[in-house]
């Protein structure tokens, strides 16, 4: 299904730490990233795409637009989603991830703001974050067709003329021809992507030195 990129503003990460940041020895294990949508009306979230960078667990909270006058509350829509099965090793550390509407715990119909809470319990990594964050909303559905009346309500056809002896049934012939036509269309549409196999250019393979790019 189609999707449309929603322009978002990603605020800087805020580290959450117990105690004084300057004097404590360890690095923060929890980061919070706020994502706002300043120029867009509340929309229905379809997909979140990002590139992980050493984040182990992700929690997402969403603030939705409510029709009543009550202030919008933060609701957790994704809890402790595991990005790295083993936080101490490289597995999943730099993978591209997609999160869809159907994976969320709540309805994402009128999203105002998102809050991503990143957790990395392992002390081995110097930093962690998520990069290339992209939010998508549902694209426009394909325009519904309205058929002209004569297509949707065909006139019952008259009785066909009686078949001549020995000739095949016309409806069977037409279905067979249709099948063959579909097959030929498929053959025409398919194309191979085989390489030709030549390594030289017009018979010449006289090379410069190897390039370093």
């Amino acid at each position: 299904m189609s999707r449309v990129l929603v322009p978002c503003h990603v605020k800087g990460t805020v580290a959450l730490q117990v105690g004084d940041v300057r004097t404590s020895q360890g690095r923060p294990g929890v980061l919070v990233i706020d994502v706002t949508f300043p120029s867009v009306a509340p929309f229905e979230l379809q997909e979140i795409v990002f590139k992980n960078y050493y984040t182990a667990f992700l929690t997402i909270r969403v603030r939705q637009h409510t029709s009543t006058h009550t202030p919008a509350k933060w609701v957790t829509c994704l809890r402790d989603y595991c990005l790295m099965p083993d936080p101490h090793s490289e597995e999943g550390a730099q993978e591209y991830v997609s999160l869809f509407k159907h994976q969320m715990l709540c309805d994402m119909a009128q999203v105002l703001e998102l809050r991503l809470i990143l957790r990395q319990p392992s002390p081995l990594w110097l930093s962690f974050t998520v990069e290339e964050l992209q939010i998508y909303q549902q694209g426009p559905k394909s325009p519904s067709m309205t058929f002209p009346k004569w297509l949707s309500h065909p006139v019952p056809c008259e009785q066909p003329t009686p078949l001549l002896e020995g000739l095949p049934d016309p409806s069977r012939v037409s279905s067979e021809v249709q099948q063959m036509w579909a097959l030929t269309e498929m053959i025409r549409a398919s194309h191979t992507s085989t390489r030709i196999g030549r390594f030289d250019v017009d018979g010449c393979y006289d090379l410069n030195l190897l390039s370093y790019t």
């Binding site: 960078y53 591209y96 090379l207 410069n208 190897l210």
Partner: protein, 526 residues
């Protein structure tokens, strides 16, 4: 679930696209056309009748084998937002490390080229072409002057690069702490421990029959061997790749091995394949590459000096020289972290229409490369079949042994797996060797890079490579390396230097591979 369905259709679409360009597609088309003559094919149910015909005549099985082969070789389609480099190697710092290693190799090759004033590629004059064609089957007899050539790199140079591999986001403190790796490899890749390896290699367990153990002379063949051979013959008649891969985990009978490997690798000798090999041979005769001299030198230094493999010297030239002309190998760079070296036709620097890869297959051989081919010469005597098997083994397995990647079968993971196994299950030995300055990886690295070729006796090596094919993974190399250390632990505890440790482990030719693996995985008290 939606996601899985769309993933599945993406995988199917990818496989269909790949198979469309293959020989099999053309053959299936031809068969379909030919089958129209048959009486049971009716026009109104054309699709179903042809499908039924394929099922009965065995063509569906061939298609199944081709699909299985694609699934085994190519990684699953990655996220749509991921660029192609991500498929080659997801970790950025490893890509960078591979890039700088390749640059070093290119510089070395370029400097060899300029120092010796030999062009990278040269078209042979007609007289020379005739001469080469005449002695194609005995290229080992001529002794060109190769004294000025040196291999581009040796495994120990590559080991130094891996030792210096660092993740910039990793805490690489100077002081020793729980996060320091005691071995040589300092990157925190995920490797399996023995319980996970036991699960993976379940068919190597104590209660399952193995060739290499249960076919020894003391064991009556009725217990295991006869039945195993019978099943093997059945698998070959059925021509089922997946069944063959499962079967070979318990080892392959010597008589069936060549056919089983060909079935698993989905190699069949058609006239087109023989023609392709002849075309490569013509390419070798027409153009002389600098890489050819490197291949000559490597064969002379390694395989020709080996007691088991020197007889195959001529075969090795025939396979390796053609291998470097084969552009179909370039497609494996889609999932290999390495990239093929590029150059331009002289005088057309920078013009993309005149950009070419050098060598044509993009693979620069290193010291010991010919040992990947040598054991295969025992199984296949027809050059084009030998060539195809080697090429498929290379693009499935061997390329991982000399490129920097985070793949579980990549050499970095194998090294880390070896060191972790040794540390966990033989801590005293590991500590002792480390104290005397004999880091175990320095000794076992060369075994793993060559997949033990040239170190084990040939029959044992082939039993080991049976399991590589059966499990579609190279992790068994690291397990065997650890098992060898475990076997010689008593002697190793008494050595006091790296040289002495090397001497204890210098000769592996008497080792029996399968008992070592079984004991290490399933019979060691942890």
């Amino acid at each position: 679930m939606l996601q899985e369905e769309s993933d599945l259709s993406l995988i199917i679409a990818q496989i269909v696209q790949k198979l469309k360009g293959s020989n099999l597609y053309a053959q299936l088309e031809r068969q379909a056309w030919a089958s129209l003559q048959r009486p049971e094919i009716k026009l109104e149910s054309l699709k179903e009748d042809i499908k039924e015909f394929f099922k009965i005549s065995g063509w569906e099985k061939k298609l199944q084998n081709a699909v299985y082969s694609e699934l085994s070789v190519f990684p699953l389609p990655s996220h749509p937002a991921a660029p192609p480099e991500h498929l080659k190697e997801p970790l950025v710092y490893m890509r960078k490390a591979q890039g700088s290693w390749e640059k070093r190799i290119l510089k070395s090759l370029n400097s060899m080229c300029t120092e010796l004033s030999i062009p990278l590629a040269r078209k042979r004059p007609v007289g020379e072409q005739k001469e080469l064609l005449n002695k194609w089957n005995e290229m080992g007899t001529d002794e060109p002057d190769l004294s000025l050539f040196r291999p581009v790199y040796a495994p120990k140079d590559f080991l130094e690069v891996l030792i210096n591999l660092r993740n910039p986001n990793y805490e690489n403190g100077d002081s020793l702490s729980f996060r320091t790796h005691l071995g040589l490899i300092q990157v925190p890749l995920k490797v399996k421990d023995i319980p996970e390896l036991k699960e993976l290699f379940v068919e190597l367990g104590l209660t399952t029959g193995q060739l290499g153990i249960d076919d020894s002379t003391q064991v009556p063949p009725e217990l295991f061997e006869n039945e195993h051979v019978r099943i093997g013959q059945k698998v070959l008649t059925e021509q089922d790749s997946a069944a063959a891969q499962q079967y070979i985990r318990q080892g392959s009978p010597t008589a069936l091995r060549a056919e089983l490997w060909a079935l698993i690798l989905n190699i069949s000798s058609h006239p087109e394949d023989i023609l392709y090999y002849e075309q490569l041979k013509t390419n070798v005769i027409q153009h002389d590459l600098l890489v050819d001299s490197l291949i000559y030198k490597d064969v002379k230094l390694t395989a020709s000096n080996d007691d088991y493999y020197f007889v195959f010297e001529d075969y090795l030239y025939q396979v390796l020289l053609c291998f470097s002309r084969d552009t179909s190998v370039l497609s494996h760079f889609a999932y290999n972290s390495a990239s093929p070296p590029k150059s331009y036709i002289r005088g057309k620097l920078g013009l993309e229409e005149y950009a070419v890869f050098y060598p044509p297959n993009g693979v620069i051989p290193f010291h010991g490369f010919s040992m990947y081919v040598a054991p295969l010469c025992f199984l296949y005597h027809e050059p084009s079949k030998l060539y195809q098997i080697f090429r498929e083994m290379y693009v499935r397995f061997f390329f991982r042994l000399h490129s920097i990647s985070s793949h579980p079968s990549g050499i970095v993971s194998l090294c880390l797996l070896f060191e972790t196994l040794l540390q966990t299950y033989l801590p005293q030995l590991f500590y002792h060797l480390r104290e005397i300055g004999a880091q175990p990886l320095r000794i076992s690295f060369k075994w793993m890079v060559r997949a033990f070729s040239g170190y084990l006796a040939t029959d044992q090596l082939l039993l080991l490579w049976d399991r590589i094919l059966g499990y579609n993974s190279l992790e068994i190399l690291a397990v065997l390396a650890a098992a060898v250390f475990a076997f010689r632990a008593v002697n190793l505890m008494e050595v006091t230097s790296l040289a002495a440790a090397e001497a204890v482990l210098a000769d592996l030719s008497t080792l029996k591979v399968m008992p070592l693996l079984q004991i290490f995985l399933f019979a060691t008290v942890t």
